[in-house]
Symmetry: C2
């Protein structure tokens, strides 16, 4: 008789955003007249930039003619896209990354979940707490996290690095030495980040202890402060210890288009084994490329017009972030984030738990947010709002919250 992967049975409950979707669906069914505003799941609302739309139409036409049709894409992704990535995301920032160190994918969620596969089962992972749930969940599925403690909502073999008000949301080097360190900076869900100098300390630490950093830079486009790194490769020595994941979802509104990339430098090795070669093998065996049309869309985000249009889009969302932050402050809330990231992280009032505040906000203001506890135990007592709504909805939501 076939056997299942028992690690799946260890996963508590369902994926955070599925639970939220179910709760909202139930509320909507019970209250069909209520106008719900969603500032919960980090989904964008603005349409794709005109330069992207134009590129996609052109690519669709190419697919309709035998002379310009494109079948299977090259394993790593098309050169036109990898070259554009290198030029604009790396060379321009003084980072020495080559086009064949870029692996184009269908998004950073897949990559951040799949990257653990090339590592052994006996690595100890460290995560910021709270953080994007996929890092831990994907390691649970691979049996790397030990035993779950339902009371503390922690895994015995995971090193949690609390990021709270008390330490200014800056993770500290853990007491126990980790093998794999997940850093999402700017951080989802707290919307906070660390300085480039602090990041350099993490790179030095990883090189010193022989750890690999999985660096998720999905929110890089929202960085507004000067002393924050846009890529971990801005730090000296990062190429021997860091893998960087990037997404087009938030900087270009590609949540429904699906495009991302992962950088695995050739210098990153475990003894004499190149992780670059391993990821290439995984990519070639278990994935078949992002669609041609989508890769052309990605290329268009780097054109002169594309970049200008996307800067406007980022500014639009960051104006929402300011509206949320100021509004909540005026209403007496303690708020964080929103400066280098499209997320606002607030302390729940009156010692409510995160899910209590979720229900309170849904029922009383018909506003959907995300419970902080869904991102890790240190997220308890916090709540995430995103700046990805329309400006009208964002303003309306904050007015409702103010009136509570």
């Amino acid at each position: 008789m076939f056997k299942i992967n028992e690690n799946y049975q260890k996963l508590p409950g369902s994926y955070l955003f599925s639970t939220i979707a179910k709760k909202v669906a139930a509320f909507t069914q019970a209250n069909p007249d209520k106008d719900i505003i969603r500032l919960g799941i980090g989904d964008v609302t603005q349409p794709l930039a005109p330069a992207v739309i134009e590129a996609m139409h052109k690519a669709v036409d190419e697919m309709g003619s035998a002379e310009t049709f494109h079948g299977y894409a090259p394993d790593l992704g098309y050169e036109f896209l990898r070259n554009a990535i290198v030029e604009h995301d790396y060379t321009s920032r003084g980072c020495d990354i080559a086009p064949d160190e870029i692996f184009v994918s269908d998004g950073a969620k897949s990559d951040s979940a799949n990257i653990q596969e090339i590592f052994g089962a006996d690595n100890k992972i460290a995560v910021c707490d709270p953080v994007y749930p996929v890092y831990v969940d994907s390691n649970v599925m691979s049996g790397r996290t030990g035993v779950y403690n339902a009371e503390t909502e922690t895994w015995s073999d995971v090193i949690y690095m609390p990021c709270t008000m008390e330490n200014g949301f800056v993770p500290e080097f853990p007491k126990e030495t980790p093998d794999m360190i997940y850093l999402c900076l700017p951080n989802n869900p707290t919307g906070t980040t660390i300085t480039k100098a602090k990041l350099q300390e993490w790179v030095d630490y990883a090189n010193r202890v022989g750890a690999v950093i999985i660096y998720d830079g999905a929110y890089e486009a929202y960085i507004s402060e000067e002393d924050v790194a846009h890529s971990i490769y801005e730090c000296e020595g990062a190429k021997t210890c860091a893998i960087e994941l990037k997404s087009f979802s938030k900087n270009a509104g590609f949540t429904g288009v699906r495009l991302g990339y992962t950088v695995v430098p050739k210098e990153l090795k475990c003894q004499d084994v190149s992780l670059h070669g391993m990821w290439a093998r995984r990519h070639g065996t278990k994935f078949n490329g992002a669609p041609y049309i989508v890769q052309r869309a990605g290329e268009a985000t780097y054109s002169k017009e594309g970049r200008a249009q996307l800067q406007e889009q980022v500014a639009y969302y960051m104006k929402n972030a300011a509206v949320i932050k100021t509004g909540l402050k005026d209403a007496g809330y303690t708020v964080f984030g929103g400066v280098n990231a499209p997320y606002i992280w607030l302390k729940t009032p009156d010692n409510m738990t995160s899910w209590e505040f979720f229900d309170y906000l849904l029922e009383r203001a018909n506003v959907v947010g995300t419970p902080g506890s869904g991102f890790g135990p240190s997220g308890e007592g916090y709540f995430r709002l995103t700046a990805f709504g329309s400006s009208e909805n964002t303003l309306a939501a904050i007015e409702r919250v103010k009136k509570l």
Copy 2:
């Protein structure tokens, strides 16, 4: 110090098609004047059907306007696509499959590589030999295949079911009982298949021994014979033992568009654990949906116009298959396949090995095919040609082979 997944080190050489690409690139560089015809990798050459192109343009326009913009897709895929799949691929064939048993993905390659994840490490897999390399390679990466024997090119913990001239390419029940049985029917690379009655025997066998069948139906659209099943769910009892993988790559030319789906019936269980729930969890945690535009393209393949256009496309390729088969027969080759699949499987002449014939064909006829041994030890001495070229190239290639 972090540790790698040592299973990757066990993989012999590189992925088959990467090796071929490198050999061809080297030949092209050395012989820039030669006109190479590629009948190797199973990539299509005909443009997307007009109905698909139209649907994609419409979807691109929707993404360009805030009112019709689509962000993250539903976990399982859009209902419009899942409903169309159920209606045309299942209900019309008398199969009782529900829309929420369909999981839309970025292609059958990813699914066929990822599906093993929901199974325990201590399952024994059985594969047809020869077969699509991804089944074995993805299990190697998970440590399920034991030790590699370089001489026999086999894994100690894999059950090989030879499919050769001698048994008419019909796999026999193995002596040792498998837990997971991979069946690709019609088969890649042999282009052969089995009758529905024979498939029913496999379903009965799996239910009897408690095995799960991973059924890859990527070439279903090419079936021309009446007594061949288009879905394993045409067989009684398949819903308690079979997962079906389907692709849009070959029936609709989507190799560069990327769309597939996997069916996990709710009745398929291991004791009381539903595999449907497990795959849903994997899908929700480690994947983020196929692009909206691509799902609309998929829907268009089921429209009246789409179906008519794609029938023509399949007929075009199957005419190539006939040209190859007849031509090779006339030239004295022993050939198989090409009736229910777009692949021609030939016995290499003069006891050449598969790679010797690859080099011979590349050097003497400038035609690229695929060495049978790349698909498994019983593929040695065979060679695959695909019908996915243009009819001009296919004719030209066969003329060259005839002249050898």
